[in-house]
Amino acid sequence: MRPRYKRLVDNIFPPNPQDGLVKNNMEQLTFYSLSSPEKLDRIGEYLYQRACRDLSRKRNGFVLIAMEAMDQLLVACHAQTLNLFVESFLKIVQKLLESTEPDLQVLATQSVIVRFANIEEDTPSYHRRYDFFVSKFSSMCHNNHGDDATKDMIRLAGIRGLQGVIRKTVSDDLVENIWEPVHMDKIVPSLLYNMQDSRYLKGMEPHSPEPGEEKNSPPQLAETCIRELVGRASFGHVRSVLKPVLKHLDLHNLWAPNQFAIHTFRIIMFSIQSQYSYAVVESLMLHLDENSKAEPKIRTSIADVLSKIIAIAAEESVGPSVLEIINSLLTQLRTSVGREREPGGGEEHAYQEALINALGEFAAHLPDYQKIEIMMFIMSKVPYIKQQGGMDDNLLQHMLLKSLLTVGRRYNSVSMNTTFPASFLEPLMRMSVVRDPDLRLLKCSRPDAIFARKYVPELFHCLVEGLRLENNTVDNVEAVYTTLALIAIELACDDVLPDFLNMILDIQTGALDKTTGLTAAQRYSLHAVAISLLVLLPHVVIISPLSEYAEKVVAARQEQDLSHLLPELLVGYEVSQPPPPGSPVPQAALIDRQALADCLKDAGLDSQHITSTNVVPHRHSWVESAGVTLKGSVTDLTNMELDSASSTPGIQRKYPEEELTFEAMKRVLAESSVVKREAEALRQKQLNEAFRATTFSELITNNTTSEEESLQTKLNELFSRMASGLSTPMTPSPASSHSSTHKHQQTAPVPVYELLFPELFAY
């Protein structure tokens, strides 16, 4: 007499396999298993043996039935009794996978994914066939069957199988570690291979999948699977996923062109737990290091991928990780500059552009206060050489300054002037001293001209925009003026002259613009800045008609008792005959667009750009970002003290942030970004309150003390050097002519530009 359980098992098989599982008898078997769970092991073993026998006799119909029965028992029975039964189940799955028949392989993966992956076990067994499953499923992912439908079917089964193993093991700490390289090195390339074998390689645009399409196409399913995998990765696992990704892209030449690489990394960035996204950027950066000997084309492509994903990381990056990333990029840039003279320098240049682009992308997505930090950090990296440096140094300086501007360009234009701290300008101006002996003689070298053409309008736009802000103080306006004057001295040349003139006109437009809420005093300041710049400009680029015209306008203002439209800038003006509010400034006292164009034409220059009215629209309303503006100014002054080292030429400033320790990194990573954000919000609130509580003049005092002084010393130094190179005779400064009774004027130092451009104030 056969044991009861064997009879029950035998009864579920019909005489003819086409008839399928005998339902009633299956119910009996299930009931028996539930009531006598101790028999489950034997039932499993017996089912397994039957299936093996049927397999070897090629009676696949019966194999199918055995499998279905096992699936049902697996689902019906309770966790604690499953242990050995699961072993039998997995053994038969393995048997099926060893078969050469596609149908049986697919059957096996279905069981794994649909049943096994979803059951919870109390006692997971350590020694399972995961190694075999991963190996076999990965192999199936590469199936090369002659018949396309079969090939797709097997590949899909392989991907599903991997998905099942991932789900099963990731959730379970006790079982084999799926994140081990031995598994990841199979799983990841298998998924990528299926993804790449799709439209991305055929140059088609990616499109979002139709519902249901995912099930039918290996690329879609592979993509889903990799998202799932990456999404489950903890910090320690990120590297073990990324390593095979990078290797795969290397070996399959998927960097250049890089659509697929970008696609893949986007997927990774969007599925990874956001606090780890920085690790992805870091890995890619590391890969760039490892590829330092690769062709520039490859490196450029990698850097390009970096620039495409870096923004996603920026939002999550905090503290040292930010500077770490910037630092890596700058290091790459430095290395590349050193290589530029080698053959293929042009391609090397493309690489540098890609790096700078990545830098810009990254900075663009950081909060403003960090942008400032980054600009200062870049500044600190610029080599400082008193004598004319080597070719490399000049190039490097050039590149770094370009980076600086790229970051600057991304900077919220509205808060530009208030957040442009003296301590930042200082090294920037230090740079201008050493830049090039040529530059000191106010000649513009060719690369700088190109550079200026490219960035000056952008920069002007930001600065001028800043001038229109209603909360500007005299100091703000002065700072912008100083900056603009500097830019003029540094970069003005025939090519960019129209930009300069447009900028001056824009400032004037701002002063006249009735729609802004500027006070009369603020408007006057703008007029003064505009005319001062116009007077300065012909000294830099010798164009006598322009100089004559400028003097004419100045004279007009003096004659018509409009001296408040001339320097110096005051908080309030005591105008002898206050013009009725809103009364227009007489036309003759204004800078006229057409007149400027004529000056250019007289000098034989292109006047086209100037005649076309070029009013740049406001990009942001200042109201929206008033908080940012306030935050910026204080942040800069409190966070970025100008230490004595940095004002001593020759000593590189060392930023505390530059010291990146592993511990610090860990701390930052451990710190939840939510907490961070809350802290940030709180800080901002306090700042706002501080601003509300303090009086205007107090604020001014706070904002204009020590830093300004050292800045001024530097400026004096710089400009006296420059002055010796100027051909224009300079009259001594009538500094004593200040007769301001304003509190502010007493505490603030003498406006910098008066000392520097005495001739401007001789009127």
């Binding site: 990965s138 590469h142 795969h248």
Partner: protein, 203 residues
């Protein structure tokens, strides 16, 4: 109850086109496949053989020779008990690449993996590498050496049976107390040791 006593993993490597897939098909299915595409990634086959009345299951992983699949193929070396390195005796470049393959194996396979050098396609008239040259190379690098023809079923069965026998021998040897743990690779001495981790014994 499993239907075998030992399970061994065998991995085939070597340049594309030397006949790895044909060797596996010949052995597992007894056929010489006509015009099949090049292997992509890794292929899998299974065959159970009998040695001294013991059933031995061979898991055979047939890898793609192309460079671009190296990332996936290398990951299969690690758990291999035996590695068959194949070249084509009528194609000098496939022989010249052997040092590269050895470096790969050195880097990714287990230290004491059983390594067999196979010169395939001996049925061809246009031999470029004399048997002696192949054998010398194998000797220098502590490998077994065999010449085969997948096409004419020459030495194919023998190749896999010898591997099975050798690995089984090592398993038996391993059960005895070992004083010398250092792996000693000697072709004649048959003293190849296999690490504990890389063999799985099943009841």
């Amino acid at each position: 109850m499993e239907d075998y006593k030992f399970l061994f993993k065998v991995v085939l490597v070597g340049n594309a086109g030397v006949g790895k897939t044909c060797l596996v098909r010949r052995f597992t299915q007894g056929i010489f496949p006509p015009g099949q595409g090049a292997t992509i990634g890794v292929d899998f086959m299974i065959k159970t053989v009998e040695i001294d009345n013991e059933k031995i299951k061979l898991q055979i992983w047939d890898t793609a020779g192309q460079e671009r699949f190296r990332s996936i193929t290398q990951s299969y070396y690690r758990s291999a008990h035996a590695l068959i390195l194949v070249y084509d005796i009528s194609c000098q470049p496939t022989f010249d690449c052997l040092p590269d393959w050895l470096r790969e194996i050195e880097e990714y396979a287990s230290q004491n993996v059983l390594r067999i050098l196979v010169g395939n396609k001996v049925d061809r008239e246009d031999r470029e590498i004399p048997a002696q040259v192949g054998e010398d190379f194998a000797q220098r690098h502590s490998m077994y050496y065999l010449e085969t023809s997948a096409k004419e079923a020459h030495n194919v069965e023998n190749l896999f049976l010898q591997i099975a026998a050798e690995l089984m021998e090592q398993m038996r040897f391993k059960e005895l107390p070992r004083y010398e743990q250092e792996q000693a690779h000697s072709i004649n001495g048959r003293t190849t040791a296999i690490g504990d981790s890389c063999c799985s014994r099943l009841s």
